[in-house]
Every structure is written in C-alpha cells, then in structure tokens.
C-alpha cells in the first residue's frame, strides 16, 4: 500500500468544473488507467483519495495537489504516464511522489497561494493609482470583512493576516483590465477568496474593479508547509 501525492494543473478547457465534478473525474480516470485504488469498507465503498483544496468553478491553476492510496507498488513515472494518458485535455499531472507513512495530510500542510487575477476596471485608472490603492489597503492594521460562520451567523472577521501582498502586474495591465498578483496565507486551514479581497478594496479604498463572474482567477503556485 502506498500513498501517492501528485501535483497537477488545470487549464482553461476545464476551468468550469466544480469540485465534485473534478473528484468524480479523477475517480473515473483512476479506473480507466487501471490504477489499483484502495477503497473504504462498508456498503458504499469509496476510493481513498483527497485534494489539498476544493477548486472553485472558473479557477485555473498551475499548482494543485491530490493524493490517493494505491494497493500496488507503482513508480511515480508510471503513475504520471498512465494518468495523463486518460485525463482529458485541461487536466495534467505534473509530478508525483510517494509519501512516507505519517506524513501530514494535504489540508494540514497548506501554507500560501499565489494567485493571478484579471479583472475589468470600472473606470480608466492609472497603474499608479492602482498600486497606491493596494498600498493604502495593505497599510490598514485591520481589515474587517463580514463572513458567515458555521452556524450561518454573520460575523466580522479581520482578514488582514491572510494577505501577504498584493501587487500590480505592470506589464499585463491595460486601460480596461488589471492583472494582479496576490499572495495569500492559510491560517489554520482557512483562507480568503481572492475575489472577495477585490470587493473589499472597492469598499475600503476606492471603487476600482468590476466584480462579476467574468473575473479570471489563476493559481500560479500553492506552497505547502515542508517546501
């Protein structure tokens, strides 16, 4: 029995998958590639597999992690090759490694995400204005955001600790749309959605961005604890 951890990327073609769709897709891909996946016991046996993060609909990513329990010894290279042969265009396994027993779970290892966002601007604003707005925003010692807690109650939460930095990508930003690099922290497996930070900037600093589902969000990197 081995625990295979793999890094994969998701490109435009499949960015509209929901987390559930993607789970199902991997489950079926394991079968098509004849991977010997370990199943849970009971009436409804489930394959033992997990993802570091639930990807939201629309998100593309260069760096996602998943792991799966396999009952036979298989090399990482064979795993990658066989999986990529059956995965549809839009999902690709980039690397894989076999984890030692007792290795912390993926969700417990989350450290930091690097996002790139492309968002339409509500008015013509200069790059300087944008950069300044980010600076003003980050200078707040505390940034409160209304969030629902697990019981569904609306509470205010300080999101500042979740934000490491927000930078304007000067080269790719145009008059209509800004390209923004965001580095966000995971604290006790929690995080803040990058598009919510844009709304928060709109509220706290200046109405700069058009917040709608056409915002493109791309994860460039996901850093895990040990890396």
């Amino acid at each position: 029995m081995i625990k295979m951890q793999y890094q994969f990327k998701r490109t435009n073609e499949l960015r509209f998958l929901s987390h559930l769709d993607q789970q199902r897709l991997f489950q079926r891909a394991f079968r098509r590639s004849d991977m010997q996946v370990d199943y849970s016991l009971g009436f409804n046996p489930h394959p033992k597999m997990a993802f570091a993060l639930a990807m939201s609909v629309g998100l593309t990513s260069d760096c996602e992690y998943g792991d799966v329990m396999l009952t036979d010894d298989i090399s990482c290279e064979a795993f990658i090759e066989r999986m990529n042969a059956v995965l549809p265009q839009g999902l690709e396994i980039v690397s894989a490694r076999i984890l030692e027993e007792g290795h912390p779970s993926l969700s417990a290892s989350l450290l930091k995400s690097h996002y790139q966002l492309k968002v339409k601007l509500s008015d013509t604003v200069s790059k300087e204005t944008l950069s300044k707005a980010f600076q003003t925003y980050l200078d707040y010692p505390e940034i409160l955001m209304k969030k629902r807690n697990k019981k569904g109650k609306l509470i205010e939460k300080n999101i500042r600790p979740f934000i490491e930095s927000i930078l304007l990508n000067q080269e790719e930003t145009t008059e209509e749309a800004a390209t923004i690099e965001m580095f966000l922290n995971y604290i006790e497996q929690q995080c803040v959605k990058p598009e919510l930070i844009l709304s928060s900037i709109n509220e706290q600093v200046n109405d700069l961005f058009i917040i709608d589902p056409t915002i493109q969000i791309h994860r460039k990197n996901l850093m895990l604890l040990e890396d």
């Binding site: 073609e13 897709l25 009436f43």
Partner: protein
Amino acid sequence: MNNYIEKNILPLVEKPITYLGNEVNAVHKTPDADTIRFAFAFPDTYEVGMSHLGMKILYGLLNEQKDIWCERVFAPWVDMEAQLRSHNLPLYGLESMMPLNEYDFIGFTLQYEMSFTNILNMLELGHVSLLAKDRKDDEPFIIAGGPCAYNPEPLSDFVDFFVIGEAEELILELMDMYRSFKKSNGTRADYLKSIAGIQGVYVPCFYETTYDQATGLIKEFKPLIDGVPEKIKKQFIEDLDKAYYPDKIVMSYTETVHDRISFEIFRGCGRGCRFCQAGMIYRPTRERSIPTIQEKIEALIKATGYDEISLSSLSTGDYSEIQKLIDTLVKEYDGEKVGLSLPSLRIDSLSIDMLEQIQKVRKTGLTLAPEAGSQRMRDVINKGVTEENLLDTVRTAFEKGWGHVKLYFMIGLPGEALEDIEGIAVLGQKTVDEYYKLDRDVRNKNLKVVLSAASFVPKPFTPFQWMGQNTRQEFKDKQNHLKSKIKDRKISYSWHDSGVSYMEAVFARGDRRLGPVLLKAHEMGCRFDGWGEYFSLEKWMEAFAEVGVDPDFYALRNREYDEILPWDFIDIGVKKDYLIAENNKSREVITTPFCREHCSNCGIMEFKEGWKCND
C-alpha cells in the same frame, strides 16, 4: 464565437461545463466540404439528455462513418437561453460550436410530449425556420424519431421527415441517399422524395388530412403525390445481437440523471400490459446474448471508468437467462467495486435473492410497480401480477433487511371504481403489516412505504388508445379519496399533477390541427413544460383558445373503433384488430398470457417475412 462565449457568457450561467462539448469520449473531427454535419438534438436539459441511450447509440454509429460528424445539442437552460438571446448568438452544436442552422441535419429524439415546445425553441435559438414549408435549401433537414414519433402528426408542421421505429440501420441508408443528393444539386423536395419510399420514413408534406366539418373527426388521410406509401411501416432490427452498440460513451463531467453505464440487454416486451405503449411499439422481443453483453460491458467500463452498470430493458427480469447473466456479471465485477442495478423489474419475475446478490456491492431502495390497487383492475390492464406476488416479494425483502419500499400506481384507468382506488391504500397497509410480522432483530430499523400514483394517459397503439382520460376534477376527487384512506404514518403518499398529464393526453393522441397550437404556445413563451416550475396550464389553455382548438376533443373523448385515428397510417406490426380484441377483453376482465408462454397472434409474426418470435 467560441472564445467569446467561453469568456463572456459561460461564467454567467449555472452549468457552464455542459455547454462546451469537451467531455471524455466526445468526438471531434476536422471537417471538410464533404463532411455531413449532423446535430443530434435532445429537447431537454443536458443532464436529462446525456442519460438517453438512443443518443449514445446513434452518436457512436454516425461518428464511425468517416465523412459524418455527429454532434450533440440540448435545450439550453433558461439562464443560457437568456444569454444567447441578449447577445444575439445562435444555439450551437456542442463539439464544434457551429450554429445550428449550418448543419445538414438536426435530428430530434421525441421521448415525451412535453418536450415539444423545446423543439420549437431550440430551432428558433438555432436560427432555423420553424415551419418546414418555410425552410430554404441551405437550411438543415429536421428529422425526428423516438417513441413519440409513432404519432408524428402534432409535429408535422415543423419536421421535414420522421423516422418510425429503430434507426440503427435506417439512418445510414438516409445518409447514403444524402451523399448522392449532395452531388446532384437538387432541391429539398428532391431529397425528401428520394427517401419517402424507404421503410420507416414519413415525410408529412407529401400527405394530407381532411376532416369532417360537423364532427371534427378525420375524414381521410392520403398521399398527395405518387410513389409514396399509403402506410408507413416501422423499422426494426432483426438481429439485435449483431446490431451496433457503442464501446465508448461520452462522459458527462456533471452528474446526469442516470449517471452510469446503461446496457440494453433486450428490446421489446411480450407481457402485453394494456396501458403500455412501449410494450406494443417495440415488439418483437429480441435479446442480446450473454457473451455479447459481457464483451460490450467490459469495453465500456474500460473506456469510461464508470462504477455502475444498469441492465436496461422494458422488463429486465424477463431476460431469458437473467440468473445466469447476473451470476456472470457479479462474479466478474465484484472485486472491482462495480455495482449492478436492475431497473424495470416486474414483481413476479423478480427474485429477492437476485437483488440481494447485487446488494452485496451496493445498496438501494426497492421500487415495485403493481400499477393498480385491486386484482380486478390489475386484470383489466393485464398487469398479470397478484397481491400474493407483491406481498411475497416485500416479505422476503424485509427479511433480508430492506426497509424502504416504493410502490407505483396509476389512477384514472379505464373502468376504474372507487374500490380500485381504495385498493392502493389497502396494498400499502398490507405491505406495512408484512414488516411488523417480522422479529425486531431481523427487520430494518427504518420502515418507509411510499405510494406514488400517476395520472393515466391513454397512448396510441395501445389497447386503451380509444379511451378518454379522466377529467382533472375526477383525478382530484380520486386522489383525495385515496389520501383519506391512508391511515398509517409509515406510509407516505406522493402525487403531483399540475395538468401535465392532461396536456400529455392531448398531444399523445393529437393530429395536425395541434401544430398551430404548439406554435402559439411557443410564441407565448412555453418551454420546459416537463419541468414543474415552467409548466403553465393557463398559458396552454390560452393558446388553445386563441387558435380555436378544443383540447378535450383529444384528451377526454372516448373514440369509436371505426374512427380514423391520426396515427392509423403507421403500421407497427401489431394489428389494430388485436388492439380491439385486447380492449374488449379488458372490458370483460379477461387477461392475456405472456407471449413467450402463449402466442396471442398480435400480428408481429406476419409483419416481416421469415420472422419468428421466441425462436
């Protein structure tokens, strides 16, 4: 267009992934000038349509042809429709995202009457002329097939030609004719003439119906031109075992209604339930052999990665070697965590041992369909199932640990009395009693018995095709009466009818005069009529009133045996005389045996030379 839709429209709709056509096993080709472009159209949502077996078969079959590219198109959900309309973009085939009006063929499958307005809506969204007579030479041919095509008349204004019966062989012949037609520089009418004589093809514009002014009944149905048949004979595949079956199917990313491999083990049914249209139109019964089933399932599992196989047919327990088939499949897939499911099991053919064998892998609730509450009524409809059958079955099921039983019934059946309705409640109670007869430690902790009653809709080509439907008030009274008879809290009762079955009854047995009504309803915004939240009986009644057609004429009226029925020109092999005899027997409460045990000469043996049933 692709990029624009992908960037600006899909992020705004609920299920963007269903509008992209990039699923695993979806077929993409590089077309050239000779490629025949075929859009297989399912007039309901993606999730419903992707569960449809016929589409999978024809999609695979057509795409095996080098010069044909068959793609899929579904009714876009209302949010997507709004986006397409506001951006003035046409509905497109999923794989290539080509606008619908640029295809050579758009083939609709007609699974239920309440999808008819979706057909009109899809044509409009695809920028295709709605009326067949208005279509230009560069517009696609609109084809329709499937069970509702057995009475094609309500759609005859909109469809260029219908395919009556099984299309696996016929469709290739039609494509062949199209290849020659394309080289000939002919007109639309030329192509239609060239295929009008092929068995199973019905081209409505070559026929005319006249009506009696006083009674409104059909006076005559006749061809308008020479060389087209007076009667349209259906097509059926003689050797199902050798017939095409896909070895891979398109994998939906989102969950579909039936998210599993559906494998058709046989076609047709010889039970002869008198309300059942499928049981008549799909005759004769033909099976696939166990080796074929095994081989195809193996390929499908490899190509899809599905973990559930459903053995489908009209009555799965009637497969001649069902026990052997299940033994074989369970043995083969038990270790691989592939579940088996058996839908459409008859109470008398079902063995609980068989179900338990399957349950080892995966557990489901038990659904049974006695169809009627009293023995008299079950004999009237020739269901051939006894109360003893049912109670034996539920007893064994409870013994083996099942706790959730669902029983399906119909109300409004011909000759129904209040006692028959009450019988439904009685049967529910007897089911509960069987549970309490068992020891506490044997039975499941949670008992739930669900009684579900649907409103009966008389269908063409059944022994009940002459019978009027109950009025909505009669249905309501019967439902309320039944409800008042259910006392046990372990029994829940579900019934829902917002007038949908009334509309079904109108269109199931309608004629050409319903075309303008459909058009009117479409203009008034009717679509997704099969979806409770979009169906509006008021709108429909308004459409009927505006066009001046009385829907009761089609739904409620008892018809005489000598009346010309709108679908009489179609020959399904089962003779009208046989249906009349069956109707007469139902009035006298006489049953007809399972045709495998005793042939009642329905007519299918004489339909095709050399054909022998149960051979």
